[in-house]
Amino acid sequence: MIELRDVSFISEGRCLLKDINCTFESGRCYIVSGEDSVGKSLLTKILGGIVKPHQGKVLVNGKDLYLNIDKQRPNNQIGFVFQDGVFISNLSIRENLQLPIKYFKSQISYGELINRIQLLFEEFHLDIALLDERPSELAYSAKKMISFIRAILIDPEIYVLNRPLFNLDFIDMKRIMSYLVRMKNSEKTLIMTGNSRTLMENLADEVILLVNGEILVKESAERFFASTNPAIKTYIENNLG
């Protein structure tokens, strides 16, 4: 379980997130939606242990994520997927995938790791030769899929995904989508941002609507789409068709 308690974030005098209180139960899928620049990406970074909030706490299974964050490594509780598939640019894809495992002297053997990578590459229909490429040589969709694979490799309990289907073609979107369904069925906690109605209707246990850095609503997808709240109705009409 992951819990945000009175979380606020201020940047250059602007309050980007204000008093966020929210609980994400284990084994459930949450989709954080909202207009551009309402703080969705920032919220995912706070949940992913990347950006410490100025106020409030992030509790993972009751423990403060940012308290002694240096001593809690490795971060194998949370798998984070960046919107544009970020990689360390001067390392090959293979080195990128091995980085956290090698860095923390993980128990996984090199052979086992390579096996897992190969299986996942096959599953996502990616050419294994890409492992020796540099990130800059990869197509956008390949970067995004490999970034997804990287999160799966550490097998965390919680996945935080920033717009996982954004800018993908239909086939790649279907592949990611079917894997997300499998993750949900295997009781993983999924927290993702996105403005896709299909994603919400097929996957979300709850939809969270962010407006101006505050949570306007947190409810099931059915209730969200049936809402009579004028602000929600307008948002659905303008953004989710």
Binding site: G49, I50, N75, V86, P100
Partner: protein, 263 residues
């Protein structure tokens, strides 16, 4: 008047906050250095790469400068001191000017120009490209992975380069001397060894290690201080170069002063 006071106050506050932040960064790097061996396999390969880039690839330039500096000092010394019949003092000049002062300063300037700028640019671009966020998402501390290994690499390279500079400058001194006053290499080295003392070598080594630490620390700090725009990268790099040079000059004076008190 109020506006001026407010601006001054704000500037002092910002500078003070910056200094506090830099000291806490330094402390974190130092504690990372002491626990370096325990944690990581990958950090070691970063150190090796850094030593290769900062040290090995700079050998040509450092060697060229060392020959020129050693040669010029001994030539000028010979010319000036010969007029007073004190040519032997030229060796003393080589020790006090090149070994104690110029070897570490020149090496530091070259390392600032080559490695300081590249470290700052690399880290700045990593911030802009969210690569630092990626490390944090793994639970890898950017200071442990990026800064500590680079700092160790630069310090090792600086130490090696300063010794290399010293050796080559002595050789340069001999080479230029032979152009005017033929002297056997063995005799030249004998005369030089009679003048040089262990504390001269020690002060050169201490300076090179301290300067290496300063360069790595300031370059990494400024690189990681880039916020989100690529335009900040060159600005931060300039700041890293200026701050490194200023601090190196000040620390050099301090170490020389301590040396003069001790020996």
């Amino acid at each position: 008047m109020n506006h001026i006071l407010e601006m001054t106050g704000k500037k002092i506050y910002l500078n003070w906050t910056g200094i506090k932040e830099f000291f806490s960064f330094t402390f974190e790097v130092l504690s990372g250095i002491f626990s370096f061996g325990k944690r990581t396999q990958i950090g070691f390969s970063v150190v090796v790469k850094q030593v290769f880039f900062t040290g090995y690839q700079a050998l040509g330039l450092i060697g060229f400068l060392a020959i020129a500096v050693g040669g010029l000092i001994i030539l000028q010394g010979n010319l000036l001191l010969a007029a007073f019949g004190q040519s032997r003092w030229a060796y003393m000049l080589l020790v006090s000017v090149v070994i104690r002062e110029l070897s570490s300063i020149f090496t530091a300037l070259i390392v600032v120009a080559r490695s300081g700028t590249s470290i700052c640019t690399e880290l700045g671009n990593m911030v802009v490209n969210n690569e630092i966020d990626l490390l944090k998402s793994y639970g890898i501390s950017p200071i442990d992975y990026l800064v500590v290994s680079r700092t160790i690499g630069v310090v090792v390279a600086m130490f090696t380069l300063a010794i290399f500079f010293n050796i080559i400058s002595v050789f340069g001194g001999w080479f230029f001397t032979t152009l005017f006053y033929p002297i056997y290499f063995g005799d030249f080295i004998n005369n030089f060894v009679n003048e040089v003392m262990i504390q001269d070598i020690l002060v050169s080594v201490v300076k090179s290690v301290v300067f290496g630490f300063i360069i790595a620390l300031i370059s990494c700090y400024n690189g990681l201080k880039v916020a989100r725009a690529t335009t900040e990268v060159p600005q931060r790099t300039i700041k890293a170069v200026v701050n490194s040079i200023m601090l190196i000059v000040m620390v050099n004076i301090l170490i020389t002063y301590i040396y003069s008190l001790l020996f």
